[in-house]
Symmetry: C2
DNA sequence: TTGTATGCGTTATCAA
DNA sequence: TTGATAACGCATACAA
């Protein structure tokens, strides 16, 4: 018995069919070396390859070249609506350039993240696009020191020279605060994301600066840190703020999920948005315009973020002289119904 | 000059360190062949491998075994909130089993889909999890005929014996209709998804059956097909239905996005939900509970769908005696505020 | 312009 | 239980 399945043709099969050596076929089929082969030979080889249905085996090629044409996409959680557009943008660019994306979820768990990244490395990915947000990151430092190519998206590491693509969060926050100030708000609170994340820190700092720039009272108790980037943490933070007896008429949330947590607390306590409290989100995740109170938020160009990160990574892979740089994409305020001029008393009073 | 980087250790390095042959190391490190090696030797090898930081090279292994430990995930569009949970569930199971997921978006474009699948095949994926919904699918047939391992998720192909994991859409629709009937609705419309998709067809059929089972008037004009699974198509469909002068008090939408399109039309025309029209969605995508009118919908176990599909695929890869089968996961109705007993006149009257 | 030889890191198949 | 050898499919330095 010979063979069960006709098994896929290899370079050799094509070579035999044409009557040349496998090397020649390899050269003819590779655009970069094609010029070394006679035009006539190339034609015959192409034809034979086509009729045999030859497909180069990328595994064999990888083993030889130690390049895999895959890159790793490290994200915390694909079900967080922030990330799919980023992945989408990155994937489109990668695919067009001949790369495939290996996607892993870390759940913001350092142990899991390390394991996932290890798994990616063992698969010989040529680089990483990293969208996880933890600020202090031994793994990141390790990768960087080991010379792994990577691009950070939606975050930066100040201490390391790693290329990054981020949106102009500071400007986004500034726009949000300006919008509230123009509406007449004076006492504005900020529900910051965890300060263990670069975006959390950055947006909180931007908030302080914006408040200063408008000569508003800089009350530190009006800035509270959420324990997570999610609704529950946002709800807890606002509840604490309300219970603390602070007077404030508007809230800039660290992200949309935190803002949605605010909605929950307000509903629970019979407070209205924007009547009792104006709320601004951040990110502009889908369907915000369809909420009970459509959320005013800062829109970020997520697809572009992913696409640009992919471009950078490809450049750094293919151009050895690449110097790390940072790209800053603009953020824009999207005004909806959750913000209005300050009405009556302080919500903290109304609350109890 | 010797070497720039210390380069990653190979089997040989470990073998040299221990003083055995590479073959022995290979056997010792592979759980399936470990028993062939002396316990003492295994111990020494493990130790050396560990201290050298040896990581097996999956590329080399793939070349030898012609297995890649990767599977392809083919989805229409990652930014559709339906898919991330499926991907998430699949990825978790795959990762645990030592497989990696290569994800591609097709945008429901047949040409693009073919190209993406080709790209996956050339990367030697061992199987496919396919979440695209097109019913008539030459590509699917081809893959099947070529003996490619695959599992369909959230869809079926009646004519082909391909394993699939789907939710009990028919039961979900039945629950939705029963709910509306119990509220007192009699004239219920269905905004079906495109009949080029298996889910579109299936749910429409289920709707007809459910209406029959409750002895409601089976008015064909109350079932309209949307041109897509999105808000715009849903809006167009409902607008057409309203303009058509049909009387109806409730709508079962083919999915949540179509239901959201209904919301848009109702808002535009000054109609209220559920006052003028009860609306039921399908899928329970995130944040539906935070909408202006929280949407009653049918919840599907998306994460489980993905996870089960991955399990099936792995089984079919690793067990040659695997027989294709279909898994049906239960759907549950989630009642929110968009459905209530029928009130006054027909919305079609109010509309003009 | 084409062919030869070699090796990427691993595993399968022998033989010892 | 261990070792020797070859091979997976391809790319590249070198020779012709």
């Amino acid at each position: 018995m010979t063979r069960e399945r006709p098994s896929v043709p290899t370079l050799r099969d094509v070579a035999d069919a044409v009557g040349v050596h496998a090397t020649t076929v390899s050269r003819a089929l590779n655009p970069k070396t094609r010029s070394q082969v006679g035009a006539e030979t190339v034609k015959r080889i192409m034809k034979a390859a086509d009729s045999l249905g030859y497909r180069p085996n990328p595994i064999a090629r990888s083993l030889k070249t130690s390049r895999s044409a895959t890159v790793g996409l490290v994200i915390p959680d694909l079900t967080n609506p922030l990330f799919p557009p980023i992945v989408r943008g990155a994937e489109a660019v990668l695919e067009a350039a001949g790369y495939s994306a290996l996607i892993v979820n870390t759940d913001s768990d350092l142990v899991r993240e390390r394991a996932r990244v290890e798994s990616l490395r063992s698969r010989q990915v040529e680089g990483f696009i990293i969208a996880t947000a933890l600020l202090d990151h031994p793994l990141l430092r390790e990768l960087h020191e080991q010379g792994a190519r990577m691009v950070l998206v939606n975050r930066k590491v100040e201490t390391l020279q790693i290329p990054s693509v981020v949106s102009d969060d500071a400007d986004g926050i500034a726009q949000a605060v300006r919008h509230l100030v123009e509406l007449g708000h004076v006492r504005i609170a900020h529900l910051a994301g965890p300060r263990t994340t670069s975006t959390g820190l950055l947006r909180a700092r931007a908030f302080r600066h914006a408040v200063q720039d408008h000569d508003l009272p800089a009350d530190p108790s009006l800035i509270v840190e959420c324990t997570g980037w999610n609704e529950a943490a946002g709800a807890r933070a606002l509840a604490g703020l309300l219970d603390g007896g602070n007077a404030f008429t508007a809230v800039v949330a660290g992200n949309d999920l935190i803002a949605l947590g605010c909605y929950d607390v307000l509903a629970e306590r019979g407070l209205s948005c924007p009547g009792d409290l104006s709320v601004v989100g951040f990110n502009d995740i889908p369907f915000l315009d369809k909420l009970r109170t459509p959320l005013t938020t800062v829109r970020l160009p997520h697809v572009d973020l992913g696409a640009e990160a992919a471009r950078m990574l490809i450049e750094s892979i293919e151009d050895s002289g690449y110097r790390p740089r940072s790209l800053l994409l603009p953020a824009t305020l999207t005004v909806r119904a959750s913000t209005t001029r300050p009405h009556t008393g302080q919500p903290s009073r109304t609350a109890r």
